[in-house]
Symmetry: C2
């Protein structure tokens, strides 16, 4: 157990990320007290039952009142309104942060609602699963992953350092970058991959000559890897795309351009080009494994035989939005 | 141990699939003897050292001579030439099959080389990992997965039944379908997903404003799921695309059409359409888990905490092509 870094942490939203932060705080004793806000009574009850919060509120402002660290864990599209609602209750000297997958829009929507004397330092932990809801969180989610902070110019250095130390205590590496650069990086490493996954799953579901049951039965050929990320929370992802429009559209343009070139190589039997590009893709995969951001375990990460039982330990039920 | 189903099985090619078949045969005692052909001395030596074959040959014809079941486990583009080379040595009454990811082209290339009295029954196990080479195989690869057989019209029923029983003994479910339908189903469940994965990895690698090291560091946001399948064997995949051209191009056309519609919805802030499509994709994912073709384990299948050590048991080093 570390020494508590904060007296009270307020989790504004208790889904996959909010609940995982709670587990991480408890694991290392990072706060004396956790308050939480959730929109629905069902989520508040679940949060109480699981001990995710010491007190659950039906008002974000009440949950945030007096907290030393306030973390917005609601979909990106809701951050502005929630911040406006809380503004009058935030404690002087408190740190306000978020976990949204888009940073430019959060700065735009939340920034104007932050009172003088409150330190606003946006953040984004690059970690998640395809499950959602308060029961899907676990303390290890952030271990070895990266968390990006995008402090505005003129941000209080002490506040940035305290938030950095908090994420490190949760197990993360921390990187600082500008909001626009964050949005460009995440467009290619996360947003476009999710869009493509959602898209191919829907393409497959609407074919005339291949049935849905065939798609499901024979999904082990590669398709199932896409369905995994396509099972992520629809509300969260709708907000991501609406709030990172220009970077996503730019990256999609590049993707489509490259895909058209590959399609042309197939049409004109250019095996050399295909072989070369496929080999290059393999190299980048090696870099990801070496960087500890994935394992080399075979069969697309699906354990076989003796490992199967053990690997299902961290399994959680697929939650609602 | 079952009673041997075949006296001698010849593995023509000893990569991921060939070596996994060998492990599966040994696990259940399905053959008295296994012979093998590999192009390189290094692979032959590895196959001998690991006990994958009782005898390794540098000629496919010699490996196939006298075998009761001959399994082509070479890339699709090599099947025709290898079959022609073996034709004179195949035993009367033998079953000749393959494991290629494309079936129309295999029928086209191999069919004319099959002597009278040899039963040609093409096959395709829908199972694999991103690793290749003789050291990457394991007996459990086919457990619970599907194997598709595409016997030509007029094929010997007894031969089809014996091959079906063989795959079932390896742990697979077996489905019979026409080669053209197979190629259409696999285009959407396997070939296009791989092409998209190869493509986005290369798009990401050639951006000016996002560095390769950023792509690697922040890949946990979804991108790493694509790199996993993009690490698959370049030779095998080049041959797949060149030999299933029309189905792949048709499915790519549908994919691009749907992606363009999604891009347009983002551009014009059509959040309702995005939410609806994302929700539908999530439903199909549930079907795949219910059908046992993937697990619901969280974090994109990457185990955390206590499961981590156990889950790395079946891990194999990334092999060469």
């Amino acid at each position: 157990m570390s020494k508590p870094q904060f007296d009270t942490v307020a989790l504004i939203g208790i889904g996959l990320i909010g609940s995982s932060i709670s587990h991480g705080i408890r694991r290392s004793g990072l706060a004396r007290r956790i308050t939480g806000y959730a929109k629905t009574e069902a989520t508040r009850n679940t949060a109480r039952r699981l001990g995710l919060v010491d007190e659950a509120f039906n008002s974000a402002a009440d949950a945030a009142e007096g907290a030393d660290l306030v973390i917005l864990c609601v979909p990106v599209g809701a951050c502005g309104a929630v911040a406006a609602e809380m503004a009058g209750k935030l404690k002087q000297g408190a740190i306000l942060t978020d976990v949204g997958s888009v940073k430019g829009a959060v700065v735009r929507d939340v920034g104007p609602n932050v009172p003088e004397g409150v330190h606003f330092v946006p953040g984004h932990p690059i970690a998640g699963t395809e499950h959602s809801g308060p029961e899907s969180g676990f303390a290890e989610l952030f271990d070895g992953r990266w968390c990006i902070l995008t402090p505005p110019s003129g941000a209080d250095d002490g506040a940035v350092e305290r938030l950095k130390a908090f994420w490190e205590a949760l197990g993360s590496h921390v990187e600082i970058m500008a909001p626009d650069h964050h949005d460009m990086v995440l467009a290619i490493t996360s947003h476009v991959p999710h869009l493509i996954a959602f898209n191919i799953v829907n393409t497959a579901a609407h074919l005339e000559r291949v049935t849905a049951s065939e798609v499901i039965k024979f999904s082990a050929g590669g398709f199932r890897d896409f369905t995994r990320i396509a099972a992520s929370d629809p509300t969260m992802w709708r907000d991501v795309f609406l709030n990172n429009k220009s970077a996503v559209i730019e990256m999609l343009g590049r993707f489509t351009e490259d895909l058209t070139a590959l399609q042309r190589a197939i049409r004109f039997d250019d095996g050399d080009m295909l072989f070369r590009l496929f080999g290059e893709a393999r190299e980048l995969r090696r870099g990801i494994i070496q960087a500890g951001q994935d394992t080399a375990a075979a069969d697309f990460g699906r354990p076989h035989g003796p490992a199967q039982a053990a690997a299902s330990v961290p399994s959680k039920k697929a939650g609602g939005g």
